[in-house]
């Protein structure tokens, strides 16, 4: 009695996102998803003659583990999982949650130890650059509640955005990539925001359903030391069970020299994880036509049509600005009129105003042309 949309999603993940081949190994990690989607993925994987390796997780079990986490334990876990990840060709992570605050109360240093050791060695150092990976959410009542929607409506939204025709979006992204590749100076302007940086020579990457589901962004990275000015974000961000709001960052020559939020001390501690945490590793433009408001979750919010995100921490290898960190903190600014508007300039030319692309060659990326 599996929802046909689950089988469709599993099919898209294995065939479109990962393009899994016979004999390949895929690590499938799932938390709080229930088993039907895992069963569908195992069947699709075997269907192409590939090998599924399942890791089931549960938020509360994870929270119990994190409560006693030490650098030694994280290191041992990494010792076991690094060679396993190295043997993989592909990786799928599906994350649901029953309570967004399940890790609230766990000391920050325990979570940071896990991220800095296990997260870095297994995911940052191996998975990100050496496997074909895709990461997605799983619709749960808690996620629906966080998004302010009924569970049924949220499930409809979820499968709409996940099972979108990413082929059309992918083609529409090509001119934006070309333009980014030719651009030197970027300026972001809006309420509380006036920020400049260079993206010269970094290159751009389309996110068209191969790595994230839902998807819809084009990213690059600022030249590491070129960022100057202030940016004020208008979507909340959850880290380690804490909901950050009203985040702003001020940069001088690439480094975050001042910042604020609803908990500035906690935020500064997070940005002090390591040296790279105070520099930015990613700049991206969101274009998913079916996501128009914050869902309280990075994987949805960073794809919002008319948004940008700017990310303290680690860069990606395919848009490498040389910044390395154990964190990669996507912070989202929505520039549609409902969220206060704003402009993006590339080399002094207005490219997007109030969330809509104004250059003719980019019009195909405006929402009405993608649905």
């Amino acid at each position: 009695m599996t929802d046909p949309r689950i089988k469709q999603l599993a099919h898209n993940l294995i065939h479109f996102s990962l393009k899994l081949q016979k004999g390949e190994k895929v690590w499938i990690s799932a938390s709080n998803t229930g088993t039907p989607v895992l069963e569908a993925l195992v069947e699709e994987t075997y269907g192409v003659g590939a090998y599924p390796f399942i890791q089931m997780e549960d938020q509360r079990v994870n929270a119990a583990l994190m409560a006693g986490m030490t650098p030694e334990l994280a290191g041992l876990m990494a010792d076991f999982d690094v060679p396993k990840m190295e043997a993989m060709d592909a990786y799928i992570a599906i994350r649901g949650f029953d309570n967004a605050f399940e890790s609230a109360g766990i000391p920050e240093e325990r979570l940071n130890a896990y991220n800095a050791i296990y997260g870095k060695r297994v995911h940052m150092d191996v998975r990100i650059d050496h496997t074909n990976w895709v990461v997605l959410r799983w619709p749960t009542p808690a996620m629906a509640q966080q998004a302010g929607m009924s569970t049924a409506k949220f499930e409809d939204f979820y499968f709409d955005v996940c099972n979108l025709d990413y082929g059309v979006m992918s083609r529409a992204m090509d001119p934006l990539c070309d333009l980014l590749n030719r651009t030197d100076r970027v300026r972001l302007v809006g309420p509380g925001t006036d920020l400049t940086f260079s993206i010269r020579g970094i290159g751009s990457v389309k996110c068209d359903g191969e790595r994230n589901i839902p998807d819809g962004e084009v990213y690059t990275a600022p030249v590491r030391d070129s960022v100057n000015g202030t940016i004020t974000f208008n979507t909340p961000s959850f880290v380690g069970g804490f909901r950050y709001e009203n985040i702003w960052l001020t940069f001088k020559d690439g480094k975050i020299v001042d910042c604020g939020s609803n908990d500035t001390d906690r935020m500064n501690a997070y940005l002090d994880t390591d040296e790279g945490a105070r520099y930015v590793g990613e700049f991206a433009i969101g274009v998913n036509p079916n996501i128009n408001q914050s869902m309280g979750d990075t994987l949805f919010d960073e794809k919002i049509a008319g948004s940008i995100h700017f990310t303290p921490g680690n860069c990606y290898e395919d848009a490498d600005n040389g910044n390395h960190s154990a964190i990669h903190w996507d912070l989202v600014l929505i520039q549609t009129p409902e969220y206060g508007g704003g402009e993006i300039y590339f080399d002094d030319v207005l490219v997007r105003k109030d969330g809509r692309f104004v250059l003719p060659e980019l019009a195909a990326l405006n929402p009405e042309n993608l649905v």
């Binding site: 895992l38 090998y51 549960d58 119990a64 583990l65 006693g68 041992l76």
Partner: protein
């Protein structure tokens, strides 16, 4: 709202069975897992200064994976799992699933491949490193259904059987083990039963909550060719999906020469599987005070207080009598008054009557004493 009995069980497993010490790495394998149980175990391991490693799975998913796997995949799994197992000091494993029959969809050749390339590899590592292990039969709705009980009733039964005072039981077992080691000849009498055999020099093993939970038996094996007479088992036994009732076996010089039950033909087919299947590989006395009737699951039934069991087929390495077979089929006879009573004699001396030890030194093992704690 975690059931406090879950914490009590976690304490038994971590502090008694595993005896976790500071710095021990403990692998927790939970199938059709109960998240409360997982959390309780993690907390109990941390409490002892150990490091928990968790594996969650469901029988249905495991069955699906096993149906499609081949040698390449199993060897890859074994390689990943071996690396971790090498570093473990203990391994807690939960058996049982929501539906005991989920694994039936896995073709035999896949199961054999898995045994050869995965199970045996882990087993070898655990033996070589002296890794402690314990298997727990978890009270799922499926297990309750097998026992013909509601899930709530079954949980009550389960926790009381699992959380007996194993330290007290273990001490009580010392006297019985000691007596069995000194005993040559065993006679068992009861309705339809008049059986005798030698246990000679064969070692005696206490099962006191270290390897199985629930636990409670002391076993040895009969000298292979010494068994004579007839035994009538009064607990049903489910094997390959068939429920055997009223099994009655007659032995001559160790060999089962006559066998009847509710399906004689099926029974004889089982016993004709190989030559060792008609000989006995284990003799054991059950002492768990919280188990007083059959649950149709061997892991519970063989521990029933006042019962004994004989296993047709292979003996255990710890109490070897030289009998080898592909089967090890535990058959249980309960000797409490409700089940018709009976007596056990060691070297001609009555030691247990109607399920109650009468020998002074063994009284600590009687249900009333053990249940009092």
């Amino acid at each position: 709202m975690r059931d406090p009995r879950i914490d009590a069980l976690a304490k038994v497993l971590v502090e008694h069975s595993m005896d976790v010490k500071t710095g021990d790495n403990i692998l927790l394998n939970l199938r059709d897992y109960d998240r409360d149980m997982a959390c309780a175990l993690i907390e109990a391991v941390y409490h002892r200064g150990g490091r928990p490693f968790v594996n969650l799975s469901t029988a249905r998913l495991t069955s699906l994976i096993h149906q499609g796997m081949d040698e390449t995949m199993i060897k890859a799994m074994a390689e990943f799992d071996a690396r971790r197992m090498e570093r473990m000091q203990g391994h807690v494993s939960f058996a049982g699933g929501n539906n005991a029959l989920d694994m039936m969809d896995v073709p035999q050749e896949k199961t054999n491949l898995y045994r050869t390339h995965h199970w045996k590899v882990m087993d070898e590592i655990m033996r070589r490193n002296g890794t402690r292990w314990v298997v727990v039969e978890y009270p799922t709705p499926g297990a309750a259904q097998n026992a013909g009980m509601s899930t709530g009733e079954f949980e009550d039964f389960f926790f009381s059987a699992c959380c007996v005072d194993y330290q007290a039981m273990s001490r009580g077992m010392d006297a019985l083990a000691d007596l069995m080691e000194r005993t040559r000849r065993v006679e068992i009498k009861g309705p339809g039963t008049d059986l005798s055999f030698e246990i000679g020099e064969i070692p005696v093993v206490k099962c006191d909550g270290i390897y199985n939970v629930p636990d409670g038996e002391v076993f040895t094996a009969p000298v292979r060719e010494s068994v004579n007479g007839t035994v009538a088992f009064n607990a049903d036994s489910v094997e390959n999906g068939f429920r055997f009732s009223n099994i009655r076996l007659t032995f001559q010089e160790g060999k089962c020469v006559a066998a009847t039950c509710n399906d004689d033909e099926r029974l004889n087919r089982m016993l004709d599987l190989d030559p060792g299947a008609r000989y006995i590989g284990e003799f054991s006395l059950g002492v768990n005070p919280a188990i007083s009737r059959p649950m149709l699951s061997t892991l519970f039934d063989e521990k029933i207080a006042g019962s004994f069991h004989l296993a047709m087929g292979a003996c255990y390495d710890e109490a070897p009598n030289g009998n080898e077979s592909a089967i090890h089929w535990d058959l249980v006879c309960i000797q409490t008054p409700e089940y018709g009573g009976g007596e056990i004699y060691f070297d001609g001396k009555l030691i247990r009557r109607d399920g109650i030890f009468v020998e002074e030194s063994l009284c600590a093992l009687n249900p009333q004493t053990l249940a009092r704690g």
